[in-house]
């Protein structure tokens, strides 16, 4: 069931969504067996920014109906910390480098985000110099300092920014689209025109939650999340993801990485059926870190064929 993505050879079509699996922390929890049982065919890092970020003040989570709203705020060590501290630790896990004899390397896809073409250029150039990094995923769910509008929310702006930065790296560039836009397929097409080698979607849907009422009638709209708003993920968004992935795959010629609420091989098969080349698992890994391997195994054995259920039933 091996697949090729932008020149990367993947052992199977299941990877992780950015920010939903921290291989370095997982090694602390699960020990060295993580390396043998690594669930993903490629490892996508959390979003890396130029400067370190502490992330949003808590609370950062809200459990929704069949899903989760998170407002994490992209905590990371910054580009220099990532290169100096994280890359060597990832190599120890066989991610991007450091394979033992008879073992494949798990390709490393580094996710980056910047608020301007200059910032993004600096990130791409730095990643380009790292042999350990196989591909770069650009998170465009970030307000452009020049316009205040999310870079990926408007096709013209997205194509313009990509045009300015694309030449900074020879590595494959994946654009992680935002679903919080009027026409995601138009944004995907703009990414393709701007030089993207692949697109990935869907990111979380903008959402919020109010703090518990503490008596009195109405008028209390205090927000629960420390960041004010957050992003909804999990099974709650699966049908939205299917529609957006289908719309994008019908519009672009470059590969599509599909994700959103995937819990099992049947859900992954749905995204592949509408045109995704690779499927990412995100929130479900929180409920079982081995979900990626389980899905890959079931897909390989054909276990998800013909299991689409009839509704209502």
């Amino acid at each position: 069931m091996s697949v090729e993505l932008c020149g990367l050879q993947l052992a199977h079509p299941i990877i992780n969504g950015s920010g939903t699996f921290d291989a370095i922390a997982a090694r602390r929890a699960f020990g060295e067996r993580l390396r043998e049982e690594f669930p993903f065919a490629a490892y996508v890092s959390k979003t890396i920014t130029l400067a370190p970020r502490a992330g949003n003040p808590p609370p950062r989570l809200w459990e929704a109906a069949a899903g989760l709203v998170n407002s994490i705020g992209l905590p990371n060590k910054g580009l220099d910390g990532y290169i100096a501290e994280d890359l060597p630790q990832l190599a120890e896990l066989g991610i991007g480098a450091g394979a033992n004899a008879g073992e494949g390397v798990v390709p490393l896809i580094t996710n980056v985000m910047g608020a301007s073409a200059d910032e993004i250029s600096a990130l791409l150039e730095a990643c380009d110099e790292q042999a350990q990094i196989a591909a770069i995923e650009l998170n465009v769910s970030c307000p452009n300092v020049a316009t205040g509008l999310d870079i990926g929310a408007d096709p013209r702006q997205l194509e313009q920014v990509l045009g300015a930065v694309r030449g900074r790296t020879r590595k494959p560039l994946i654009v992680k689209l935002t679903p919080n836009t009027a026409d995601v397929a138009a944004c995907a097409l703009a990414a393709e025109h701007g030089g993207a080698d692949a697109v990935s979607l869907i990111n979380t849907l903008r959402a919020m939650a109010l703090a518990p009422r503490t008596g009195g009638a109405g008028g209390n709209a205090a927000r629960w999340l420390g960041g004010g708003t957050g992003g909804l993920s999990g099974p709650a968004i699966r049908a939205v993801a299917l529609a957006q992935v289908a719309a994008v795959a019908a519009r672009v010629a470059i590969p599509v990485i599909g994700m959103g609420g995937v819990q099992n091989a049947s859900h992954a098969r749905d995204l592949l059926d509408v045109g995704a080349s690779v499927v990412a698992v995100g929130t479900e890994s929180f409920r079982d870190p081995a979900t990626g391997s389980t899905i890959a195994r079931e897909l390989a054995s054909g276990g998800a064929e013909g299991r689409r259920s009839t509704q209502p039933a």
């Binding site: 939903t20 003040p57 808590p58 950062r60 929704a64 069949a66 099974p235 929180f286």
Partner: protein, 269 residues
Amino acid sequence: MSHAPFGRRELTVTGIDELGAYRVLRAADDGPHPEPGQFAMLAAVERWGAGEDDRPYVLRAFSVARRRDGESHFLIEDVGPGTRRLCELRAGDRLWALGPLGRGFVAPSDGRRALLVGGGVGIAPLAILQDTLQGEGAAGATVLLGFRDGTRAEGAALLSGARVATDDGSVGHRGFVTELLAAELDEDPHAVVYACGPAGMLEGVRALCERRDVPAQLALEAGMACGFGACFGCVVPKRGGGYLRVCVDGPVVDAAELERVDEHAGAPA
């Protein structure tokens, strides 16, 4: 630190015992032996979801309260749709468990005596700590437990020889468990404090121990989706800026790592 097997495991519930306002959920467990203070993420295999607000969805974090005779014990208080579903489980039902996770308590050193201070459902990790200290032949640990009321104070039976405080005075000392702790430290300050409970109690313990220069280890709680460092949801501010992830940097932290214990960020219940 005991590492967890990679992936959640299916356990079989062997029983559920009433303990005042709490339940002790027991499950057959042949997994790694947890260290005191480590925790597991739990969910019912059947009917996890479709409760209040169409929850629960993520697994729920519980300290391992005891590991004995091939069983893991968890102390549960029904405070939301997830804990409610777990309280409904009966012998023979199936339980998802991921763990043991996190950093546990560190044994006392330089001849200090162990003072175990717990509040409410937070007494759970102190039970397995007491078991372990007794097993190592250490001098009997002093156990001080605080509860809101008499029904909850029945939970004190989880540990042996506990002295109890209740907010309403229905059992033991009327007042806070931190008052019992202050009296103990007046008598003999050569101690190390192990504490778990609500944020207000932990902050009381932290401040008291800081004033008296007594080392303290605090088992924290926070809203948590994964338990293994993936979601970054369970952070608490650390001394000097930035955040700790309760799941992988804790749940047990040295009190010196914190400037204060904030009201925790509402664990999904």
